[in-house]
Amino acid sequence: MEVYITEISKYVIAGLLFLYTLEAFMAFRFKNEEKRKWLYARQIILMFAVQIACFVQIMARTGKAVYLFFFAFQIIIFASVIMLFYIIYPEGNRLIINNSCMLLMIGMIILTRLSYDRAVRQFFIIVASFVIGFFVPEIIFKFDFLKKFTWIYAALGVTAIGVVLLLGAVTNGSKISYTVGGITFQPSEVVKILFLFFMAGALYSSENIWQLLLTSFVAAVHVIILVLSKDLGSALIFFVIYLAMIYISTENIGYLAMGLGFATLASAVAYQHFSHVQVRVRAWMDPFTDIEGSGYQVSQSLFGISSGGWFGVGLYGGSPSSIPFVEQDFIFSAIAEELGVIFAVMMALICVSTFIEIMRIGYFLRDKYYRLVVCGIGVAYIFQTFLTIGGGAKFIPLTGVTLPFVSYGGSSVLVTIIMIMIVEGICMIRTDEKKEAIERIRRQRDNERRKASQRD
């Protein structure tokens, strides 16, 4: 009996997620939220169906009743998040919320399998993040003056990551976190938000090349501090945010080309001078030569991805725990192993769907400041996803960043949820803009009509 359930549920899980992903892309056929209403409803059903199918598989393999309560609790919480959001922010973007919840659920499933204790911790962080996150759209919508603190954001950000550099604890050979009262923070995650607002503010008001240079200088300070902290992943993400925002703001592809050229040069210099960069590049080109040393992580990750095949070996069927830092840096490999390559690819495509929707919101925004913030968030999100999936799959060198929403890690989840909520807040501004535009057109028409009637 057990074998039937575990084998058949593999295909059911992959099939359900495939349908969900299909809907996530079908959404782009409809321009407004009203027309997507039924699509969203179907998505929510599929979302919980995936969750339940995975749960059934876990029960069949382990038979532990404690998971039953945990999953019931999860379903209640995620259902209320989706409902509450719809009630509080009927004008928000629901595709992004659905996708975020789907990814968080996948994260919870695989974390439960990897480490129940960590999954419970992660779950509480998710709940807390949503409680905080629910205020964010309102704040963004109401407090327009937040636009004015540009340089304060920069000062705060530089201080926060600067302090870590000087006092930080060493995790995995890089100084990226510090502990206050038993809670470990990873400030580079929070500073990412400050950095986005700083860049938007600086570029929004910049009128000449000198201001642009000053902005670039401050951005460079951020990146250099992160490089010195050996947090190469975050340094790269900050740099890519900077490049994307400069490009969007100036609409000059020359800056992008220059930035990429500079990045190539900087990587070459870094490769020659930093041994930890060389180690990572070598482990990327050929992880199997030094499989006992520097290549261990990547080769174990590759074993994981390939061993599952298209449909995976089923939850609890593989050995993802042989991959070091599997809950943080290699969660994608664990998912590919146990839930299958198809499932993992679908999950990555959900990230892409979220990215496209975020960029779409930015594209239709009239307000340049918020457009920069939204697109910055979109690029930060997709680039981080790219770094972690690509790093674990030997597509690019490993940088050791988390997979947003899915990986274990408090700061990562909190910051990602807040970023998504900022997008939702800006989404309401866009709806507002639309209403204003309609109002303007109506007024114009009225005026014309009045003029016409006066002429008569």
């Binding site: 992008l256 074993f303 990555a348």
Partner: protein, 483 residues
């Protein structure tokens, strides 16, 4: 008109609100498309290799769940199977004991042979879900998939006995398909008791290297069998006028102060190209080798896969032969007759011979024809696969004539006048001055339509004609049923 055009243009411009956002979105979508495509492709194509990596702990999960599958001969005889002993512990059993030791290999204390490279199939199972459920109920493990080899038990037995207590290797293939019919390496070991003998074998310093599969991993000086290669190089430069080649042998050949002598100083008299090959005249071949341009020679070596990876799935050693820029006349002469630093595996010589027999086209040598599930369902089949054309059809034809002459008039005359025709080339490779040379033979039968290709090396035996050719005869006899 103009105004209208202008207006429509501005309208079009207005429609794109921000190019950068579109550009960035497209770039990232493409990046993801290529990354996800790469992940699918890379994980799918490397699945077996990764599973066989000894650092991959997932092997243990499979072996805990599945009973290792059987390895079968082409007729269905069991070459390796898993049995349960009295205490219910799994034990790998090899009914033929030493006979298939190297080619089938072992699976305790590491893995080798078919046990190693077909490990993925042996530890996986393809039985139906209902069968799994039934086995679960009975508390039994799932049977792993069975591997059906191309090995012929009769030919293997003959080859094994023919080599007797000599050190050396034999490899028998079908040149038209690339199927390996038999593969013997000696000295050998009993895979049934390898776990118990392991420590002693590692301690052994006699140089026997019992675990080494000499047929694929042994590297030997090719001796006169290499004259095939020198001939191909010469034919590249002389596609038609090779018939005009003449040489007068007086037992040795001198160029400046460097001298090459024929085997046992024999005087071959007046020879043409065919005669030089049939009599295996070192002097003439030193002369031929020196006449060939360095580039032509190296191109020929490249074409014949020297110093390159061979297209096989199992472990092998790379052969080496090179005509370097600053090479002395003496070394070039040594190269031409297969002495000096040149080293080849019997497998490689067999592949070249097979290609000649198959009109110049190399078929991929393979050991597995099929993988079948325990319930008889076919899981995977390995069809014959053409690797590439090594030499032209004309060159292959000339070489086949030459190899036939070796049997009719030359050093392999023990194969003359039988109920079948054969062709080949002998070799007597000298590796030091104190002991007898390695005896080589590589050839095929029937001469006009080759069905079977054998390569034999007997270490420290003497001349190829006296020690390797009789073994070839026994294998050919067995194949054609004239025992």
């Amino acid at each position: 008109m103009r105004e209208e055009k202008l207006r429509s243009e501005t309208k079009k411009k207005k429609r794109i609100r921000s190019y950068p956002i579109i550009v960035l979105s497209i770039v990232y979508c493409l990046l993801f498309a290529s990354m996800l495509g790469y992940i699918c492709y890379y994980s799918y194509t490397n699945k077996q290799e990764f599973m066989n990596n000894k650092y991959n702990t997932r092997q243990q999960i499979l072996t805990a769940k599945n009973k290792r599958g059987d390895i079968l001969s082409r007729e269905g005889e069991v070459l390796a199977t898993t049995e349960l002993d009295a205490e219910g512990k799994e034990k790998r059993v090899y009914p033929y004991e030493k006979e298939f030791a190297h080619v089938v290999g072992y699976s305790t204390n590491g893995k080798s042979g078919i046990e190693e490279f077909a490990n993925y199939y042996l530890i996986n199972t393809s039985i139906e879900l209902s069968e799994k459920a039934a086995l679960d109920k009975a508390g039994q493990k799932y049977p792993g998939d069975n591997v059906i080899t191309t090995l012929d038990t009769h030919l293997q037995e003959v080859a094994y006995n023919a080599l007797a207590s000599r050190k050396g290797a034999i490899i028998v293939t079908d040149p038209k398909t690339g199927e390996i019919l038999a593969m013997v390496s000696k000295p050998d070991f009993d895979p049934n008791t390898i776990a118990a003998e392991w420590d002693n074998m590692l301690k052994d310093t006699s140089g026997d290297a019992k675990l080494l599969n000499r047929a694929t991993q042994g590297l030997y000086p090719p001796g006169s069998t290499f004259k095939i290669v020198t001939s191909i190089a010469y034919l590249t430069e002389h596609p038609t006028d090779y018939t005009q080649y003449r040489f007068s042998c007086n037992g040795k050949f001198a160029k400046g102060s460097d001298v090459i002598s024929c085997y046992h100083g024999e005087n071959h008299g007046n020879l043409d190209f065919y005669g030089s090959f049939a009599e295996s005249c070192n002097s003439s071949y030193a002369n031929i080798g020196l006449s060939v341009n360095q580039k032509t020679f190296n191109d020929t070596l490249d074409k014949l896969m020297f110093g390159q990876d061979l297209p096989v799935n199992f472990r092998y050693s790379k052969s080496s032969a090179e005509y370097t820029a600053g090479m002395s006349t003496a070394d070039v002469m040594q190269l031409s007759i297969g002495q000096g630093t040149t080293a080849v595996s019997p497998l490689h010589i067999n592949m070249i011979t097979s290609a000649i027999a198959n009109d110049g086209v190399l078929m991929k040598p393979h050991l597995i024809s099929e993988v079948k599930c325990a319930n008889g369902k076919v899981v995977d089949t390995f069809q014959e696969e053409k690797v590439k054309r090594l030499i032209s059809s004309e060159e292959a034809g000339i070489l086949r004539d030459m190899m036939e002459q070796v049997v009719l008039k030359g050093t392999a005359s023990k194969l003359k006048g039988l109920s079948y025709t054969a062709a080949g080339k002998t070799g007597s490779a000298e590796f030091n001055s104190n002991s007898d040379s390695h005896a080589w033979f590589t050839g095929y039968a029937p001469a006009d339509d080759p069905e079977i290709c054998v390569t034999i090396i007997v270490e420290n035996a003497g001349s190829g004609g006296s020690y390797a050719v009789p073994i070839a005869k026994r294998i050919f006899d067995a194949y054609f049923g004239v025992e």
